[in-house]
């Protein structure tokens, strides 16, 4: 068992809105080891992206508040670093790929300028060595003619190519941790596969630990060893990916899995849904947030919050988990 490269303990986030302060992330903890892949799954608005931004220290200070015991990257607590020290970690030890490749790159600089400036910032060296590293990173990310790509501007590339360029930028310093926030959501299926393949390559080639954030269980399943299930700002289940799909223990996870549309000629048009709707975060139910939509709810679920119960590697926050 290798050492964890990303550890988060007791992270809570509040968001100020015109209707008052509301909690969007509630006391979550997890860790990822080197070379491991962890999926963070949940419906949109459940706090996944907020968690990712908090790890990098990118939450807007004006309308968010955060409480956290520690966020350690390669054993160093990010919360204890000053601005200069934190900038040395960002992009070097931990990098991020964003959901919207269309807007994540600066439109008035070339792809080459943007990637090589990351290299020069963290590794240093001459302009030529940065350019060589840029070409190499692009080539490894699957571009056939990197010397042409470095001269293009973002708007000249397709969404998938922009996302691949983002991955080349994120991997140029061989970071220990890569956070990928819905990296394939805006892209079509064949491009999705390309992106997943590149993330897999990063893991095997550089031992990069990956935190893959997605609402799409199929994407998570294709890449991740471990899965965290998140609902309304809380973690509900944490387990091995294969086990989650074979024997989910939290009713919400089970519901999510049963909602995956099955492409099967035998069962055309079959699709399941979870009854009810995701509650708005200004008006969360007491106790277990999922209790109003759960068919296994008992009184206790609405009165107190279930904590994680460990059953080997399988953790679940539920009073009446599935067997």
């Amino acid at each position: 068992m290798s050492a964890p490269v990303l550890e988060i303990a007791n992270l809570s986030i509040w968001l100020d809105t015109t209707t008052g302060r509301r909690q969007v992330v509630d006391n979550i903890s997890f860790s990822i080891e080197a070379g491991d892949t962890t999926g963070l799954v949940g419906e949109s608005g459940c706090g996944k992206t907020m968690t990712a931004l908090a790890i990098l220290g990118l939450l807007p200070a004006s309308n968010t508040h955060m409480r956290c015991s520690f966020i350690k990257v390669k054993g160093r607590d990010m919360l204890g670093l000053d601005g200069q020290q934190r900038r040395q970690v960002l992009g070097h030890d931990i990098a991020m790929v964003f959901q919207q490749p269309g807007t994540a790159l600066d439109p008035v600089f070339t792809i080459g300028q943007q990637i090589s400036s990351v290299y020069r910032r963290h590794i240093g060296g001459s302009r030529e060595s940065a350019n060589r590293a840029t070409l190499k990173s692009l080539e490894q990310t699957g571009f056939d003619h990197p010397e042409e790509i470095v001269r293009t501007y973002p708007h000249q590339l397709s969404g998938g190519m922009k996302q691949l360029a983002m991955i080349a930028m994120a991997s140029i310093c061989h970071p220990a941790v890569l956070i990928a926030d819905e990296p394939t959501t805006a892209l079509d299926n064949t491009t999705q596969a390309l992106i997943i393949k590149q993330l897999q390559r990063l893991r095997t080639a550089h031992g990069t630990a990956i935190l893959l954030i997605s609402h799409d269980l199929a994407v998570i399943r294709s890449l991740c060893r471990e899965v965290l299930v998140m609902y309304c700002g809380r973690l509900l289940e944490k387990t091995d990916c294969t086990r989650l799909f074979s024997t989910p223990r939290h009713p919400y996870s089970a519901g999510l899995i049963s909602c995956i549309p099955i492409i099967s000629p035998q069962r055309p048009g079959s699709i399941n849904t979870i009854p009810g709707q995701v509650p708005v975060s200004t008006d969360l139910p007491t106790g277990c947030h999922f209790s109003p939509r759960c068919d296994r709810t008992v009184d206790r679920c609405q009165q107190s919050v279930p904590q994680f119960e460990t059953d080997g590697d399988h953790q679940v926050a539920c009073f009446r988990p599935l067997p």
């Binding site: 970690v89 990098a95 991020m96 964003f98 600066d106 439109p107 008035v108 910032r121």
Partner: protein, 317 residues
């Protein structure tokens, strides 16, 4: 190929605008302008005398021909004689324009640079006290009339009621120190009157740029505030900034100098225009209005063409 069609489209639109601008100034200044017939002839003229004068003034020519005449005057810079001094209009303009440029350029540059600096500082500290202080001062600046600023500066800097270190009126410029002597107070006035507007406008641009997704990407990759502000935010906001600078050139040059020069008695294009307004000197006015309109359209067209150089996105759209 794309670039050529973009350039021709812009140039064509520029020509269409020039037609409009010159047509309006023709309509207002020449066609509906004052009839000079009776100023030129004595009492109790015969109808034949009236007809002769009208013919010599070109009043009997068809509407469109008179417009074409006006276009020719502007195009060849053969603008006739001033009603008041009898001097050729083009030589009046040639003499006064350099003075106006020398008068407003320092204030114009300072006002924009300071505005840009304050805006960057405010936007970066958005919501905190430096932002509030700068924005509050800007609103106050916007609430003070140009005329009030000029009067206050004149009293405090140019009269015995204040420091009395600068001249009240005039423009006796023969070397750099005398230039500074005469240009300081108008420059200060110009900076004060434009600073509030510039700062607010540039801050809005910066705030929008700082909120963009790619700025978050830069932060996620460890870019410093300095690099984000001065490399990325500034380059991305170059287009709105350049546009504003371009658009305000004729405003500052004409409107700014109109007030500054008439107030400080500086013999630039503004004072010439002011005198033409008060004395009804039509040849001067129609030349100034027509030429500034044309110059403005040229600046606008040049600005749009420059976009293509600055912004890689333009050519594709």
């Amino acid at each position: 190929m794309k670039e050529i069609s973009f350039i021709t489209r812009r140039l064509l639109y520029g020509i269409v605008l020039v037609v409009g601008v010159t047509f309006i100034s023709f309509l207002l200044m020449v066609y509906f302008g004052p009839d000079k017939t009776f100023e030129l002839i004595g009492k109790n003229p015969t109808s034949q005398q009236i007809a002769e004068v009208r013919q010599s003034l070109g009043y009997d020519r068809p509407f469109l021909l008179r417009y074409v005449d006006y276009l020719f005057e502007l195009g060849t810079l053969d603008l006739g004689l001033s009603d008041t001094s009898g001097e050729p209009v083009e030589s009046v303009l040639a003499r006064s324009l350099p003075i106006s440029i020398a008068l407003v350029v320092p204030g114009f540059i300072l006002g924009n640079l300071l505005g840009l600096g304050f805006a960057l500082f405010a936007a970066w500290n958005r919501g905190r006290w430096p932002d509030k202080l700068i924005m509050g001062a800007s609103v106050m600046g916007m609430s003070i009339s140009f005329l009030v600023i000029i009067i206050v500066l004149q009293v405090f800097l140019c009269t015995p009621y204040g420091l009395n270190i600068f001249p009240v009126r005039g423009w006796q410029v023969h070397d750099f120190s005398s230039y500074l002597h005469y240009v300081s107070v108008p420059t200060l006035a110009l900076v004060l009157v434009t600073l509030g507007y510039n700062t607010r406008f540039y801050r809005a641009v910066m705030v929008e740029e700082i909120a963009r997704d790619h700025i978050r990407t830069l932060r996620a990759f460890g870019a410093s505030s300095f690099e984000i502000l001065f490399r990325h935010v500034l380059k991305n906001s170059l287009i709105p900034v350049l546009t504003r600078v371009m658009f305000s050139v004729p405003f500052v040059l004409i409107s700014g100098s109109l007030l500054l020069e008439s107030f400080f008695g500086i013999p630039g294009i503004g004072l010439v225009t002011f005198n033409a307004i008060t004395s009804g000197d039509q040849p001067i006015l129609k030349a100034v209005v027509g030429l500034t309109g044309v110059l403005f359209v040229m600046a606008l067209t040049l600005n749009d063409l420059l976009y293509g150089v600055v912004d890689p996105r333009v050519e594709s759209s």
